[in-house]
Amino acid sequence: MAEQGAADLGNNNNNKPEASEGTIIKVTVKTPKDKEEIAIAEDASVTQFKEEISKRFKAKQDQLVLIFAGKILKDGDSLSQHGIKDGLTVHLVIKTAHKAADGSSTSASSSTSTQAGNSSASSPAANPAPTTVPTGSGQAPTQTPNIMSGFGDLASLAGLGMGSANFMELQQQMQRQLMSNPEMLSQIMENPLVQNMMSNPDLMRQMIMANPQMQQLMERNPEISHMLNNPELMRQTMELARNPAMMQEMMRNQDRALSNLESIPGGYNALRRMYTDIQEPMFSAAREQFGSNPFSALGGNSDSGAQPSRTENREPLPNPWGPPNSSNPSESGGGTTGSTSTSGTTNPSVSNPLGVNPASLGNGMFNSPGMQSLLQQISENPQLMQNMLSAPYMRSMMQSLAQNPELASQVMMNNPLFSGNPQLQEQFRSQLPIFLQQMQNPEALSVMTNPRAMQALMQIQQGLQTLQTEAPGLMPSLMTGGIPGVPTGGAVPAENPASSPSSAATNPAQQQLMQQMLQMFAGGGGSGGGNGTSQTPEVRFQTQLDQLNAMGFINREANLQALIATGGDINAAIERLLGSQPS
């Protein structure tokens, strides 16, 4: 029985006639460089096999070394003895001629290969090496620079102490190192891999959403998903995350601002509520991956029961000598319960590697009861307003709002103050750019922070409103972009009683206040009613300047300064000027 279709293979010599009548099997013979399929009789001997191979590979038989399943096939063996069957692969090494002939040179080459033992990082617990002895050749053990560079960006990972086989340990180690060494975080951030990742907003969103805790969080607070879906915001956030200096700056701003907020009576409560509502679950979500949430303890410490600021604080103040981070005795007057440290609300960079800015959670913030009570207090106490606005936090938020009109409009629309009043919303929206510009205008800010000015403005507005109702014909001549608020101002009080029962959370007084604020700002803040917006101080104080000039104050610059400082109040300006001049 000879050839059975083995001719299909294209082999010229299939069976040697000497091979007895076994079936032909096709065995793959693989060298490091090459691979061939050889047909051979099943019961052939290794010698015969080698003959075939030598023809195919054009090598001498004694150069061939066949290995199968870890065993070297000796000439006397047969293929079946080794279990070589159809379709299996046999490895072949073709010894190069001079090495085959010269055993001593082979041993010489092998000894050179064993010579250069890498002893730098070798640990004694390695496999015992009976056959090789590191001859302690002059190879420098310090290959660390090579390794580090050759290892690419993974080197920093390796340096984290990969000696530990326990993953949890490794993680915690990494975390500890990150926390203790901000440099490392910046290094990681500088890693192009990370940066590539960060610059792709879709990717970031995917990553965030893939986290199950995050998903839970999003279900509870849909505002967060809004935030995530806003690509502009994401990009800003990622910019922030990418630039550690910026992030630190922002952190510091936030810290300062938060401490300012804290000093507002009742503001502390609001803060805490804010924290527990939003930030804590977010942090837990982010942190759970990295280990336990150290802030959960803090959250648990917080007292329940938010009391409005005006009532006396009946809860015992925390122990100022208590364990750090769990108590924050605040000395400000009567309304603060200081058991939760505000540092819990800051964003350590590890737990918040995405640099999520809680200020951007503005949508959620304004809707939370904490913020509402805050607003309530603000409206009842203009002093608060001053404090709040002087916080750098507000300033940066204003800036970001100004740059991002969409976000600002979103934020404002969700403001409960406006929720019952679509007309107001419309109006606000249309005036939003002006509003924001005004916010940027430091003069407007200074006016806002000047309580007397605020009161004066309010009086003016009230006067205008009264005028409006009494003598509607008089008003049209004074209308500018801002004053259209006034007619609706007249309508608002009428609407309010109707709307306030419908909107459970809004306070008609608040709405009115917002209304007035809006008008004030749109009206160019500080001008005597009816003037255009964002005029230069010179123009605005023209009449006053003239008066001062007439009185003998010739120094226009000083006059202007004084007027600006006092918001147009001539008497106060004169006092200022007199105070600065000896005469």
Partner: protein
């Protein structure tokens, strides 16, 4: 030729990510990867691996990676050291030159797989060889593919086969 010696063959498996892959992969990739595996074959008292510079060898556990995460015992081989060295030389001239390194398709694990098959006829565990395709099957993997293609893992080793 008295080659009846049996030499033990072991596979050293290292996790290049130091545990981070296990933690971050569900978030980043959307699937669970227990590690980014690098392997080396330990036989004849040396650890052999393939890196950006070519086939390297060093003393076992002698790379920057230190101790392996796990060691798989692959049995014994009759291939003695000379033969093995010749085999490696051939490889180094052909398939496993330094410039043939590709992080996804022709990496240290490819090498280990081939060597181990040569020595013992067995393959290395499939979770290691499946890793590149697992990564590439995620959108994240596709996204960072160009970056990874340009990287090479080279844990060091001062003895490079085939380079003269």
């Amino acid at each position: 030729m008295a080659q009846n010696n049996s030499f033990p063959v072991k596979l050293f498996i290292y996790d290049l990510s130091g545990g981070m892959a296990r933690q971050l992969s569900p978030v980043m990739l959307g699937r669970q990867l227990d590690g980014i595996w690098h392997t080396g074959v330990v036989v004849h008292g040396k650890e052999f691996f393939f890196g950006g510079a070519g086939i390297n060898n060093c003393l076992p556990c002698g790379t920057i990676l230190g101790q392996p995460n796990s060691i798989v015992d692959l049995g014994y081989t009759e291939v003695n050291e000379d033969l093995f060295q010749e085999y490696l030389d051939s490889l180094a001239e052909s398939e496993y030159r330094g410039d043939k390194y590709n992080m996804f398709e022709h990496n240290c694990n490819t090498f280990s797989n081939d060597v181990v098959q040569f020595l013992t006829g067995k393959k290395i565990p499939s979770y290691i060889t499946d890793l590149p395709s697992e990564i590439l099957s995620t959108p994240f993997g596709q996204a960072i593919r160009p970056l990874l293609d340009s990287m090479a893992v080279n844990p060091g080793g001062n003895n490079i086969t085939g380079q003269r």
